[in-house]
Amino acid sequence: MTLSRMPEPDQAVLDRSSAIIKDLEALIGVDGVISEEEGRRAFEADALTAYRQAPMVVVLPRSTEDVSKVLKYCHRNGLKVVPRGAGTSLCGGALPMADSIVIGMSRMNRVLDADFVNRTITVESGITNLAITDAVSAEGFFYAPDPSSQLACTVGGNLAMNSGGAHCLKYGVTTNNVLGVKMVLIDGEIVDVGGAYPDAEGYDFLALIVGSEGQFGIVTEATLRILPRAESARPVMLGFSSCEAAGQCVAAIIGSGIIPVAIEYMDRPAIAVCEAYAKAGYPLDVEALLIVEVEGYEEETTRLLRDIVDIARSFDPKVVEASTSPEHSARIWKGRKAAFGAMGRISDYYCMDGTIPLGRLPEVLSRIAQICAEHRLKVANVFHAGDGNLHPLILYNANDADEARRAELAGAEILRLCVSVGGCLTGEHGVGIEKRDLMDVQYTPSDLAVQMRIKSVFDPNWQLNPGKVFPLSALEASRASAAADQAA
């Protein structure tokens, strides 16, 4: 791929690397520092594997104090810092630079307090998303945001990217489910924002911190809302002979007053791949498949599914299959949840994440097909239809440089399309390195300046996760204007 340019490494820092490593070892202990090449290479990429760069050194703190000591040191010495959870970012959010220090949060993975009466849980940020639900499920609770990578991804990464998941149609995304964080600022200062009570005091810093892609500080602890789990959740599969019919059906369901917990969409190529992999019982002769899930008490889900099927009838579905048992539900979901993995077995793919207004779905899907055809590429669509968050998977061969370049061009064109119909570049994966240079498609220079000034409030020298989120050109313009501010 024609990779986005990263900032040039600072040779003076690289020349000092052995002294820096010694200092870090003295700060948090030899066993908390990884400096040998083989160890560092394990951190060279995240799930956006087209980009690879081993960091100068990796530190693995065990406490907020460790993080504070390391950041204070980095601040004083002008070093770049890349925070990392589990490295499952799809946008290069955890990609290191050659002269950077990766702070890996994997050792800070404890549950600190589960408060069932007040319905909150306080955890260290290196805990996996699924482990939070595991810690509270015996008491009948769950943690709502459920990104596909939930087995591996950390809540720290979820906070950085404001992650969503299939069930956020009803329960919201990460920002709607977090009450407070403990964060270490770049100068080592520890700040508590919010707490186990609603609506943090003063400005809504929590809103700014969630989704800041590791550029504002390192969150070491988070207090999250947990919810009582419904007695039953049941999906229905609806197959249609056109994507228009499926799209209209989604709008009709939502317009009817029913808010399902999830509405997932797969097109024909995606259905074929998922079915071959998961044997979920998906129909192979439809153009679009919806999985609509409702929850509640047994008698309620029965009624809701009946209502949804009634609505779907007006759009002439070829297949209607409601789950009849927990095993049946698990099978229906198995194919959808395995979609990215199943696709990965047959081809390399480039996963887009644009969001569009639902009403534009049919035209956007046909334009996506057209764009990919023009670039001689295949595409499969798997996405969260209820909230318009698309995941077109552009299939390509990573060993074919020309095909990889075409995939990237097609991807950028699809994202421009999403913005042009009133949508956005990324619904849940983040900007990272991947979509950095497309930011000015969605935002004007003053929109970007507003964002970049907030970054400077938290991290005046731009040491935290540099080279991401903003086009490097916008960055240079902002430096010039900050200098002018200073002079004024």
Partner: protein, 406 residues
């Protein structure tokens, strides 16, 4: 009398702010002005109202999204939504009646700028949770937009949500885009009588832990309950603990049954039907139980389990009457008027128990001399000053509204 400006377009607002920024003239920002008696008084040479920026610019019922110009009244928005069987999920509270302002006058921009949510927040989240995007002009006279109109958007920082609750001190919003939800088919309330605070709050927590989707969970002390307009509930001389369910009819009746079964140790429950439910929660939304009087009104956010202890601790220093909302995590507390508004004691007790407190109603002279918003920790204060300078370096937008010298 300050100079009143009513910009009718973003560029007009930009022009006004640019002129003030250049001459460092302080501006008081208002919508309808219904919350003017809340927060620290602002001494603006110029007053800018958003009321000429009005109208619904986008409404897609099938996508559960609406955009409106900031000065559109909330009542207009709610009427348009109701016509399509929809509503705002967070049931914005109307503080007008409790603070001597008009009722039903607030603008949608101000609802988000102050992040004011009502009882339904416990199920659906706060105003800020439903804010998808904004347009506005900052103190540098830059027009900008943040977020958008789609439900999921992590493109860049969440600046729109970050502006909610900033009380016009960072930027003047000109348009807001937000998420809406369908009206439930029906609603019902179950009411328990005569419970002391600690048992009532325990009951609320038990209810909230059941998967019945309680959409309102309140406790009114007896002296507060007798201020209700509802004739039946007013005359009981007992504390009232109420839970609301909203859903389709058969789900409401099934869930009501389950709730009563799980809570039967707390006594026999009364029921309010659909109409009474609308009236009762409508009253609470206007804070009718905390009418405008020459007393002080505090709003305290804390954990439900600590709420009754916190109120009991404050009562050791002064008489206090409480209305607990949000399952106990929000306390509306009325205390007698004093020169320092009971600040020292209330802030100390809140700090011990964990949470934050805001003085909602007091004389202007009191609001000018004490901390109205929760004082900030040193690192948060540093960030707050930084954020203010990033948006409004000359300090002209609502100066001093939230914190003195900011």
């Amino acid at each position: 009398m300050s100079d009143l400006q009513r910009p009718a377009a973003d560029w007009e607002l930009q022009f006004v702010i640019a002129g003030c920024a250049e001459r460092r003239v302080p501006i008081e920002i208002i919508g309808s002005g219904s919350k003017r008696a809340i927060g620290r008084p602002v001494d603006g040479t110029v007053t800018v109202t958003t009321t000429s920026l009005r109208g619904i610019s986008l409404y897609e019922p099938n996508e559960l999204v609406m955009s409106a110009r900031a000065g559109t009244t909330l009542s207009h928005i709610e009427a348009e939504l109701a016509a399509r069987g929809q509503m705002l999920p967070f049931e914005p509270i109307d503080l007008g009646p409790a603070t001597g302002g008009p009722q039903g006058a607030q603008t949608i921009g101000a609802v988000f700028a102050t992040n004011m949510s009502g009882a339904r927040r416990i199920l659906h989240g706060a105003a800020r949770d439903h804010l998808l995007g904004v347009r506005g002009v900052n103190g540098r006279a830059e027009m900008f937009q943040a977020g958008g109109r789609v439900m999921k958007n992590v493109t860049g920082y969440d600046v729109a949500r970050g502006l909610s609750g900033s009380w016009g001190t960072l930027a003047v919003l000109t348009e807001v885009t937000f998420k809406v939800i369908p009206w439930p088919e029906t609603a019902a309330t179950i009411v328990f009588l005569g419970l002391p605070d600690n048992l009532a709050l325990e009951l609320l927590s038990v209810a909230m832990a059941l998967p019945v989707e309680v959409s309102g969970a309140v406790h009114l002390q007896a002296s507060v309950a007798e201020r209700l307009n509802h004739p039946g509930l007013r005359s009981l001389n007992k504390s009232i603990t109420a839970l609301r369910l909203e859903n389709f009819s058969s789900a409401v009746s099934g869930r009501k049954h389950r709730l009563k079964e799980a809570l039967k140790v707390y006594g026999k429950a009364l029921e309010l039907d659909h109409r009474e439910t609308l009236e009762f929660w409508g009253e609470l939304r206007r804070l009718s139980v905390m009418p405008n009087r020459p007393t002080l009104l505090w709003r305290i956010s804390t954990k439900p389990t600590t709420a009754p202890k916190l109120v009991a601790a404050i009562k050791r220093y002064m008489p206090a009457e409480a209305f607990y909302d949000w399952g106990g995590s929000l306390i509306w507390l009325e205390v007698p008027a004093t020169a320092d508004a009971g600040t020292a004691e209330i802030r100390r007790v809140t700090a011990i128990h964990g949470g934050h407190a805001m003085l909602i109603r007091a004389e202007p002279s009191v609001r000018a001399s004490v901390e109205v918003f929760q004082p900030l920790s040193p690192p948060l204060e540093r960030l707050t000053r930084g954020l203010k300078a990033a948006f409004d370096p000359a300090g002209i937008l609502n100066p001093g509204r939230m914190y003195a010298n900011l």
